[in-house]
């Protein structure tokens, strides 16, 4: 941890002209040599140390464990990639990942669409007391998942408030214990996700809109653009980076969701609400199969990386 910042030279990567044999050539840039760029490393060092210690190394460790058949207690047995091939053919794992993809609709797509719609509305209309509503809508982000799950268990119960409201407008047979229903449990879980992440998306977008020059809106209006046209040509392109952030954050939330499922349904009924993180937990702590749990975890991490990179690439291409 006490590495000399001077040695942490970011330009010393292989293939860079400075590191080639012989004395370093003089840089053609007009900047002073050494110091300022090395100082940059010093600034990110605290964050980097935490990242390496608590994110990067555990990830590598999980990758290492995933190559073993290990019960968490006795000596493990090296099995190579067996855990991964087992995961690929495990119907429970497949179900869980399919559910995670479905949850993206609820955790990511719906909140983003709702957030955009509301933002589009707000760019044309002033709402009294909006700061208050914004705070209220953002609140779910700050509540622990366990609490949210408990609240919704009550909300969705057969004699809970949701059914009470539903019975007023729909036939009584529509009411049911939503979290225990084979057809509705996953959708009910997903809707909790929508409720949680919608506020985050909206706050991101509303903040983003404020940095779009008002002259663009004026120009659009002068050109006779209506609400939809204005939204599509001014607001949406101006929010590209906020959209990327919103999609990446909410997609990660969807894929790694655990606390709400664990506390609301424990994966049931049947396997209707199995998600990858739940299987990871079950294998590590209930089935004493730590290696397999790590294999699922690493697979999940890879899927999240790929999706996050894909969203970023799409956004970059859009900006060209």
């Amino acid at each position: 941890m006490s590495a000399e910042p001077v040695e942490l030279d970011p330009t010393a990567r292989p293939g860079s002209h400075v590191s080639r044999g012989g004395a370093p050539r003089r840089r053609p840039t007009g900047r002073a040599p050494g110091e300022p760029r090395n100082v940059a490393w010093l600034y990110i060092l605290p964050g980097l140390v935490f990242f390496v210690l608590f994110t990067f190394l555990p990830l590598l460790h999980a990758g290492w464990l995933s190559l073993y058949q290990w019960d968490g207690l006795t000596v493990g047995k090296f099995v190579g990639l067996d855990n991964y091939s087992q995961a690929l053919s495990d119907p429970d794992v497949r179900t869980a990942f399919l559910h995670a993809l479905q949850l993206i609709i609820y955790y990511s797509v719906l909140p983003v669409v709702l957030g955009l719609a509301l933002t589009g509305f707000l760019t044309r209309h002033t709402v009294r007391g909006f700061t208050f509503f914004r705070t209220v809508l953002f609140l779910p982000q700050m509540i622990a998942g366990v609490v949210i799950a408990q609240a919704f268990v009550w909300f969705y119960a057969e004699e809970g408030p949701f059914n009470a409201a539903l019975k007023r407008v729909a036939p009584d047979e529509w009411a049911r214990g939503w979290l225990g229903d084979f057809d509705w449990a996953l959708r009910a879980i997903g809707s909790i996700g929508t409720w949680v992440t919608f506020g985050l998306c909206m706050v991101l977008f509303v903040a983003g809109v404020q940095k779009i020059p008002t002259s663009l809106y004026d120009a659009a209006r002068v050109d006779g653009a209506g609400a939809v046209r204005e939204f599509l040509t001014v607001t949406l392109p101006g929010l590209r980076y906020e959209l990327v952030v919103a999609f990446v954050l909410t997609t990660i939330n969807a894929l790694r969701s655990f606390d709400i499922v664990y506390n609301a349904t424990k994966g049931g009924p049947g396997d209707e609400t199995y998600v990858p993180a739940l299987l990871m937990y079950l294998n590590a702590f209930k089935y004493n199969d730590v290696g397999y749990a790590c294999a699922i975890a690493v697979t999940l991490a890879v899927v999240i990386f790929v999706l996050a990179i894909a969203v970023n690439l799409l956004a970059d291409r859009g900006s060209d």
């Binding site: 941890m1 590495a3 000399e4 040695e7 942490l8 030279d9 970011p10 010393a12 990567r13 390496v52 210690l53 190394l57 555990p58 590598l60 460790h61 290492w64 464990l65 073993y68 290990w70 019960d71 968490g72 207690l73 006795t74 000596v75 493990g76 090296f78 268990v153 969705y156 119960a157 057969e158 049911r176 214990g177 939503w178 979290l179 225990g180 229903d181 084979f182 349904t265 424990k266 994966g267 049931g268 009924p269 049947g270 396997d271 079950l282 702590f285 209930k286 089935y287 004493n288 199969d289 730590v290």
Partner: protein
């Protein structure tokens, strides 16, 4: 950058290191030489270890401190009983300090193995039958075999051989129901049929002697009850069905094949007419609307609470729900076992409460055993358990005569023991069996999977794990 890379490599090596678990194992054997000695001794020759058991006179040991983990955190329930008995024990030996730590079931069982493997885990803890907890602890040599203490204290006279089986494992942690004994338990816990006697009388019904007649009676009750469910039921966690099905399995056979299956006796299978008929009946009752519709969204304890408030005619649940049901229904509460099938022998899901284990790392195993003996069998212990509405696992005890409901609850347990009708818990059969059963029972009950396919899938889990056990 080079230094950073070097640092990274060093950290990676440190993080990954060698084979996982290898250092744990060293620590265990190094810290507890005495433990490995007794572990190595075969069960039959434990007489050799017998003279070393110190049963009294712990005053001479100097300060003794024991940490105890328990998930009997219910009050009313076992928690106050254990707490009070521990106070008495400490008063007897003032140099002994016992720190009780009560946790909820899941947080204990999810962490206890790793805690026992660490240097500051509990000296005494409750475990759990099955491969996740008890077998893993035996295999990793984290707990001591109790055979020397069983001999010394006469614990083998507390219950029959088939009860003792649930504490037995071979030393490799592979064969359940054989080998040394690793635990003892305080109370008998069985699932029975709680009855709302007032409602039953109002409907003009009485519970018949056989399951077939009972089944007919239910159809009659359904017609009379209307919207009120026959069975108030909670299966949110998935164990509601695992508990419920025992009485149905009893209608079509006895408990021995079910226990054999859990113990992985060669040739056992779940795909028996008994199990398939039981699942068929469960689905039939589900379809006929005998249960509250939202049962998969209601918790087990929550269903007990609803039943105590007067919902439903019956509640199929564990005798640990006695307190809440007594508080709610008072004199209207009753409990019996599910009316039996043709054999006339009663069958129900149940076993003792959680097994108590002594850590292989404790410095004072003899004091730990003396404490266990005290909380199970001191004259006060039995009375206090009954007072807390807990049924002592030790056979031949009598409940207080002034509480007829507690008398019925006690009779239910004792009847299952004497009929050889305890099925144990089917989820002990493999580490993943709980989730497999929860999933397929739920699906079968809802008519989403046929009883045959459910039995097949459950057996597939068993077979897969059976092969793992044999492969080593």
């Amino acid at each position: 950058m080079a230094a950073l890379l070097a640092l990274l490599v060093a950290l990676v090596v440190a993080a990954c290191g060698g084979t996982p678990g290898s250092d744990n194992d060293d620590a265990t054997t190094a810290a507890a030489p005495a433990a490995s000695d007794t572990t190595a001794a075969p069960a039959e020759s434990t007489a050799a270890a017998e003279p070393t058991v110190q049963m009294d006179g712990f005053e001479s040991l100097g300060p003794v401190e024991l940490n105890v983990w328990s998930y009997d955190n219910q009050d009313p329930g076992l928690m106050p009983v254990i707490t009070e008995l521990t106070k008495q024990f400490m008063a007897k030996y003032p140099n002994v300090k016992i720190n009780l730590e009560f946790k909820d079931f899941n947080s204990l069982v999810d962490t206890v193995n790793r805690a026992l493997a660490s240097e500051d885990g509990p000296d005494i803890t409750e475990g759990n039958q099955g491969y996740q907890i008890d077998a893993a602890q035996v295999k990793a040599k984290l707990i001591l075999p109790l055979d020397p203490y069983i001999k010394a204290y006469g614990w083998d006279k507390w219950w029959g051989a088939d009860t003792n089986q649930i504490f037995q494992w071979t030393e490799d942690g592979k064969t359940f129901g054989q080998g040394p004994t690793w635990g003892i338990a305080q109370t008998g816990q069985n699932v029975g049929l709680y009855v709302n006697k007032k409602k039953l009388a109002d409907l003009g019904l009485t519970i018949p002697a056989t399951f077939a007649e009972f089944d007919t009676m239910l159809a009659d009750a359904k017609a009379k009850l209307g919207d009120d469910p026959i069975f108030e039921f909670g299966n949110k966690e998935g164990y509601g069905t695992i508990h419920f099905i025992g009485g149905l399995q009893g209608a079509y056979g006895d408990a021995q094949p079910l226990r054999d299956w859990i113990y992985h006796v060669p040739g056992s299978t779940f795909e028996t007419p008994q199990n398939i008929q039981a699942l068929t009946k469960l689905a039939e009752w589900g379809k006929a609307g005998y249960f509250n519709e939202d049962y998969n969204a209601v918790g087990y304890d929550q269903a007990a609470a609803e039943f105590a408030k007067g919902k439903g005619l019956f509640f199929v649940g564990g005798n640990w729900e006695t307190a809440i049901i007594k508080a709610g229904l008072g004199a209207d509460a009753g409990m019996i076992n599910m009316p039996p099938g043709e054999s006339g022998k009663h069958v129900g899901v149940g076993a003792t409460s959680g097994p108590w284990h002594i850590s292989a790392k404790t410095k004072f195993p003899d004091v730990a055993a003396a404490w266990l003996n005290y909380i199970h069998s001191s004259p006060e212990a039995v009375d206090m358990m009954y007072k807390a509405l807990q049924i002592p696992a030790i056979s031949g005890t009598t409940p207080p005569a002034d509480d007829p409901f507690l008398g019925e609850v006690t009779a239910s347990w004792q009847q299952l023991v004497s009929d050889g009708g305890l099925t144990l818990y089917a989820d002990w059969a493999s580490p993943s069996m709980y989730d497999t059963l929860a999933k397929y029972y739920q699906e079968a009950m809802a008519g989403k999977t046929s009883p045959e396919d459910a039995a097949k899938a459950i057996q597939a889990d068993w077979t897969k794990f059976d092969a793992e056990l044999k492969a080593g």
